[in-house]
């Protein structure tokens, strides 16, 4: 038991590693702050485009969204980071992560917002337009707020997935939390820094998981 504790919960090692773990956490936070708003914005744009009824918009849009949903994000990231430089395009680790996340997460957010918009009866738009609101005003002030409320659990759930996904940035040597933990582990020959990183992720995301679990139960119970 003592050996187990000394191996996985070695406080001395964690204390020594804590400065670089904190640096890693800070980079993770920066990644979240960039990736989540960009993904949300891209998702709203995709969802708005999907309200256009023309099949010249609809089919390419479905193809685009399914393409990026079918692609494992790590594969996309590797393509941007390790493939594009052969074409003379050097994005760097942060650029590759930002663009890869944008392409991947906006497709997921887009599907969620689309479902939300489709859940609002057509009559709402007609009523809003008949009061003199323009189509853009009606979308912004009438449809979207209700749509967001209807798909809130899915939005929270997807955001949680995006936050967890930032850990794959470690593969392209972006010094975020997991990357720093692995560095510390390889220097100290002790896995405690990785356990510490796991504990940090858990403490950071547990409240979101609890909230989500409640929202989901309520959603299923309503059916």
């Amino acid at each position: 038991m003592d050996e187990f504790v000394a191996t996985f919960f070695n406080l001395e090692v964690v204390r020594a590693a804590s400065p670089i773990l904190l640096q890693g956490l800070w980079v993770t936070v920066q990644l979240i702050v960039v990736a989540v708003p960009l993904g949300l914005l891209g998702g709203v744009i995709l969802a708005l485009l999907s309200t256009i009824r023309s099949r010249w918009v609809r089919w390419p849009l479905i193809a685009w969204v399914d393409f990026f949903r079918a692609f494992p994000p790590l594969v996309l990231l590797m393509f941007l980071y390790a493939g594009l430089p052969f074409a003379g395009i050097e994005l760097g680790a942060f650029g590759a992560v930002a663009i890869g996340f944008f392409l991947n997460t906006s497709s997921y957010y887009g599907e969620i917002f689309r479902a939300g918009i489709e859940s609002i009866p057509r009559g709402q738009m007609e009523a809003a337009r008949s009061t003199g609101l323009t189509a853009v005003q009606a979308m912004t002030w009438v449809i979207l707020p209700q749509a967001v409320r209807n798909v809130l659990p899915d939005l929270v759930s997807n955001t949680l997935e995006v936050v967890k996904l930032t850990s794959i940035a470690s593969v392209v040597a972006l010094p975020e939390l997991l990357y720093q933990a692995r560095q510390a582990q390889s220097v100290t020959y002790n896995p405690s820094p990785i356990v510490a990183a796991a504990v940090i992720y858990f403490l950071l995301l547990w409240p979101a998981v609890r909230l989500l679990s409640r929202l989901e139960h309520r959603a299923v119970a309503r059916r």
Binding site: D66, P72, E161, I168, R182, Q185, I194, F202, V220
Partner: protein, 226 residues
């Protein structure tokens, strides 16, 4: 060479592609195998946990809820790295394949348990009472009356979640599982040409576009039957 030819030579180099196609195909089948294992064991474990939870034994349920929360909150890559790089310190040395399989099984089981449990709760109480009053036992009621209805409810969310998690097999490349992505990356560094990565990308699309389309179909197929 024109720009276009340059582009084709770089990303769609027929010679390089032909050389690495067998490796990518090996990776493809390993990915399929790994994904199937994860889906089977993850869903089975998730269902088992949900059934155990329906017995409502307090301390057991607290443990289940904690484990489920844990594996929903931790990034899958962190779990894989922890198992692969951590366990050798205590004398266990799971291969990259086993580490990835176990990690993604736990993650899928956690999500599946939540979804199955929500489905079980969604079956009205009257169904329980009616079944029990006909003389069925608790286990019979659960197995023959409640679960069949609960599982139907859970099909759309479960399908999408399962697809999302099986795409995580690409994470195995980090711990030296010879699946599509790691075969492709190795090919890129041997040939100094990104064409193997293009090939790998195509392999993923061949594998997952039908799966995503299937998920879309399941969602609409079951949506109006609520």
């Amino acid at each position: 060479m024109t720009n276009w030819e340059q582009f084709l030579f770089t990303f769609f180099n027929a010679k390089v592609m032909a050389a690495y196609l067998p490796k990518i195909i090996d990776g493809f089948f390993l990915t399929v195998w790994l994904a199937l294992l994860i889906v089977l064991s993850g869903l089975a474990l998730g269902l088992l946990l949900a059934v155990v939870r329906s017995f409502r034994i307090r301390p057991v349920n607290w443990l289940i809820v904690f484990l489920v929360d844990l594996f929903r909150a931790l990034p899958p890559l962190v779990i894989i790295v922890l198992i692969y790089f951590g366990l050798p310190s205590v004398g266990l040395a799971p291969s990259g394949f086993v580490s990835t399989w176990l990690s993604l099984t736990f993650v899928l089981a956690a999500f599946a348990e939540e979804i199955f449990w929500a489905g079980i709760l969604a079956v009205p109480k009257g169904q329980w009472e009616a079944a029990r009053s006909t003389g069925m036992g608790f286990a019979q009621t659960l197995g023959w009356v409640v679960l069949p209805q609960a599982v139907r409810l859970t099909i759309p969310p479960l399908t999408n979640r399962t697809i999302a998690i099986t795409k995580g097999t690409a994470l195995g490349s980090v711990v030296a599982v010879a699946e599509i992505l790691s075969q492709a990356s190795a090919g890129v560094s041997f040939s100094s040409n990104p064409s193997p990565l293009t090939l790998g990308a195509i392999a993923y699309l061949v594998l997952f576009v039908p799966v995503v389309a299937f998920g879309r179909w399941v969602e609409t197929r079951f949506a109006w039957k609520r």
